[in-house]
Structure formats: structure tokens, C-alpha cells
Assembly symmetry: C2
Homo-oligomer: 256 residues x 2
């Protein structure tokens, strides 16, 4: 327990990351990871020995989940908020993943200059979803920065992803389904062609809230639209697929 207490700061707690048995440090009252990040981490395909960059990694949830499922050479998580960088680094340490995940404090717009152009095989992002409204600029807390385009717009994220990626590299993003046309337009502005989408619906008969999208740098136009991912089969009860993301993969892996 002493080790755990050393790693935690005031107001923080350690939560199960569930799949596969990793732990994550989060603040009790501040930004915590959402299902959106978990769905994205299961949508990303990254091969052995590839370099992956996560833009706006927050508490590091996407690198941690991916490190448990796939074996990229290195995952670099970029985060602009110092307190979250610090928390994510301690989560990496807590899980003994320091050789596979690096967390860097960085404005993602500086990433191509600092990390290099065309260096990444895969880029992922669960970016802020909503444009900054008038008056919102006052609410500069961690949650607002994660949800609203305070420090970066959709265009910034897509442009950065494109610059970091190798030719034929993939950018995976989760975003609001309602912004799909903006995502496609911005992608094409920066040579990223949408190749695969999967919409996310809370229930089978509801409209989609989110979209999971893979865009490939320099690819030809031809989009594959997967059947939607439905989160709940009834209120409070996950569908089999999402239940598996949270619980079964942990068991499968711990049986190995």
C-alpha cells in the first residue's frame, strides 16, 4: 500500500482499467476517461513494431488500453495539461509500461516539429468535440479543455495527424457523428481519406451519437461503413460486444 500512496496525489484515486487488468490514476472530481476512449482503443489497429502517437492523451487511457491488446514498438501520448501529463506518467509507471509508453507534455500543434514529419505509423485521437462557444473561454478547467476546442480545433488535430503520419499511415479518431461532414472535409484538406467508419448508437433504435473513423494518408476514395456499434441492449445493460471490451478480455488474457 505504501507504493500506491507514494504515486497518488490529493484527490486522486486508482481505478481499474479493466482490460486487461491495468490500473489508471484519475482525479475524483476532475476529468475521467469515458467510454468513447475505450471504444476508440478497441477500434485502433496497430501492428507489431509500429510507432503510434495519441493526440490529447489525457490520463493516458488510450495508450494503456492499446498496450494491453496490441504490441506496437512505442506509444507516445501527447497532452497539453501538465496535471494530466503527471497523472498519466504515474499510471504508466504503476503498470510497469515505461518501456512501451511515453507521455510527453506538448501542444499537439507543435508535435510535427518536435517529433518529426512522417514518423508515425498510426495516430489516434479522442479530441475535444465541440467548438468553443462565446463565453466558454472563461471555463478553462480540465474538463472544459477536454470537451471544447479551447487549445485545438478539429482542423488542428487532423492537420497534426497528417503531418505526423507516414504515407499510407492511419489516423483513428472518435468524434461526434453530427460532425462527420466536417471530419471528411478536413481530412481531405490534409490528404487523409476516410476508409472505414463505424457509428456508435446508445441503443439499437436510436440515432448515432459518435463515429469511429479510420482515415488513411494518401489513399484512394472508397469508404467501408461497418454495422453500428450498439452500446446498451437495455438501460444500464451493455451489449455483448461492449461488455466484452470491459470485462471478458481481461479474463481471457489472465487465463493465458
Amino acid at each position: 500500500m505504501d507504493d500506491v500512496h507514494v504515486i497518488l496525489k490529493e484527490g486522486e484515486r486508482i481505478d481499474d482499467l479493466l482490460s486487461p487488468s491495468f490500473k489508471i490514476i484519475q482525479h475524483q472530481h476532475q476529468f475521467r476517461f469515458t467510454i468513447d476512449a475505450v471504444l476508440l482503443a478497441h477500434f485502433v489497429q496497430v501492428k507489431k513494431n509500429e510507432l503510434m502517437v495519441d493526440l490529447g492523451t489525457g490520463t493516458g487511457v488510450i495508450p494503456l488500453v492499446i498496450a494491453g491488446r496490441q504490441t506496437p514498438r512505442q506509444i507516445v501520448g501527447l497532452e497539453i495539461q501538465n496535471a494530466l501529463v503527471d497523472m498519466a506518467r504515474r499510471s504508466v509507471q504503476l503498470n510497469g509500461l515505461g518501456d512501451r509508453i511515453a507521455i510527453e507534455e506538448m501542444d499537439l500543434k507543435e508535435a510535427p516539429t518536435r517529433l518529426g514529419h512522417g514518423v508515425a505509423d498510426v495516430v489516434a485521437s479522442n479530441p475535444p468535440y465541440r467548438p468553443l462557444g462565446k463565453g466558454d473561454a472563461n471555463a478553462l478547467n480540465a474538463v472544459a479543455i477536454a470537451r471544447h476546442e479551447v487549445y485545438c480545433t478539429l482542423g488542428d488535430v487532423v492537420k497534426t495527424a497528417s503531418k505526423l503520419l507516414k504515407y499510407r499511415g492511419s489516423f483513428y479518431m472518435v468524434h461526434l457523428a453530427e460532425r462527420l461532414a466536417d471530419i471528411i472535409t478536413q481530412g481531405r484538406n490534409y490528404q487523409l481519406e476516410p476508409k472505414l467508419v463505424r457509428f456508435v448508437q446508445s441503443f439499437a433504435r436510436e440515432e448515432a451519437k459518435l463515429v469511429l473513423i479510420q482515415m488513411v494518408k494518401g489513399a484512394q476514395a472508397s469508404l467501408k461503413v461497418l454495422p453500428p456499434l450498439v452500446v446498451y441492449q437495455s438501460p444500464g445493460c451493455y451489449t455483448e460486444e461492449v461488455y466484452r471490451y470491459y470485462y471478458l478480455e481481461e479474463k481471457e488474457q489472465s487465463d493465458e
Copy 2:
């Protein structure tokens, strides 16, 4: 039977249009309407007293199905192939819809000049889906013209729709899901903002083949993604929704 024989030419036959009890003349061995047109006709929303234009109307299936379900002031179906224009006109006559549907022989690219700019409340189209490949240009039969971009490209269709539409008017189209990014890009090139999409899957677990899309002229960006329309619940057996399109609406209407 004499009336029917007068209206039919060699190789043609009269088919049930099913919903709502209309008949349609089609050629036994040439282009016949597909489920794509039926799905589009059920996706289109056109209000009483509005003017609707159907681009590339073929045998007139979309005007006929819509005239049975909704009450626009007038539906104008444009078709470039003379033999199909003639067949569609006779189907309109056969159903006694001459006061509600007009079929015009026209290259859709000439439509804004001939019909006027900003005249339509609603435009619909089930256009050719596939770019013209090398060598395809020789196959200039009615089916090839309906399926391939022989006489008009996606860009031509979208541009024509935008010119014909009033500000805030809606363009409804069915197309290949794989071309969604091209559709959105072309729409935005011509002031048509995607507002509503519904993907069409053959089966619940398969990827989407088609997309039904509504684009609104001059609208703000914000896309609504409906749950997919699944056509078959098992091989050869329609889902309840599609079965209703073909059979039940006819009964409901004939009971009135």
C-alpha cells in the same frame, strides 16, 4: 384489356408498383427499377403543394411511389433516354396521374436553364453509381447508362440539384455507401450540406451497401445519422420495415 394493349409496346409488360396499388410499365429484358429506388422514394419527405424534381427518373418509379404516399403540387421526372421517357409517360397515364406527374426528356445538366434556377422545393435522384471505366463507353445500353456515369457524373447531379433548389430546399439521393466522402465533398462544393443519412445494409451484421442522404441548400453543418435500414432478416425474407414498403402500405391505403 384493350386499353392495356394500346399502352404497351413490344417486349414491355405491366408490373405492380405495389405501394399503393399503382402499376408501372417496364421492359422485360431491359432496365427495371430496383429496391434502391423504392427505398429512396420512402426516404424522401415532400410537403403538400411543393414542387419536386426527380433527376434521371428512368421508368418513373420514384415519382409514382411518391405520388401514392405524399401530395406534392407537381413532380417533374427528367430522363435522357427517349425510350424510358416514353415508357414512364405511359405509366403516368395508366395510373391517371397526368395532372400530378410530368415526365420530361432532358439531359439533367440542362435542367436549371430549361426549368429555372431555385424553382424546386425538393430534388431527388437515384443516379448512376459507378464512374465510367475504360472500355465501358462502348456499352451504351439502357442498363449501362443507368448504372455508370455515362451521361452524368456525381458532380453533375449534385450541381444540378443545387441549382434547381430553393434556399433551404432538400436534395435526397441514394448512392453507394463507399462513395459517401465524394458525396459530402461534392455537396459542399455546391452549397448542399448533409443533414440526414441512413445507411442500408442487406443483413444486420453486414457492412452498408447504400446510403440514403438528405442535403439541404445553405444549411449549417450538423449531421443526423439514423439507425441503418436492414433489408433482409434472413435470405429471401424482408425485414418488417421493407416488407411494409412493398406490401402493407398498399393494404392500409386501400382500406381507407
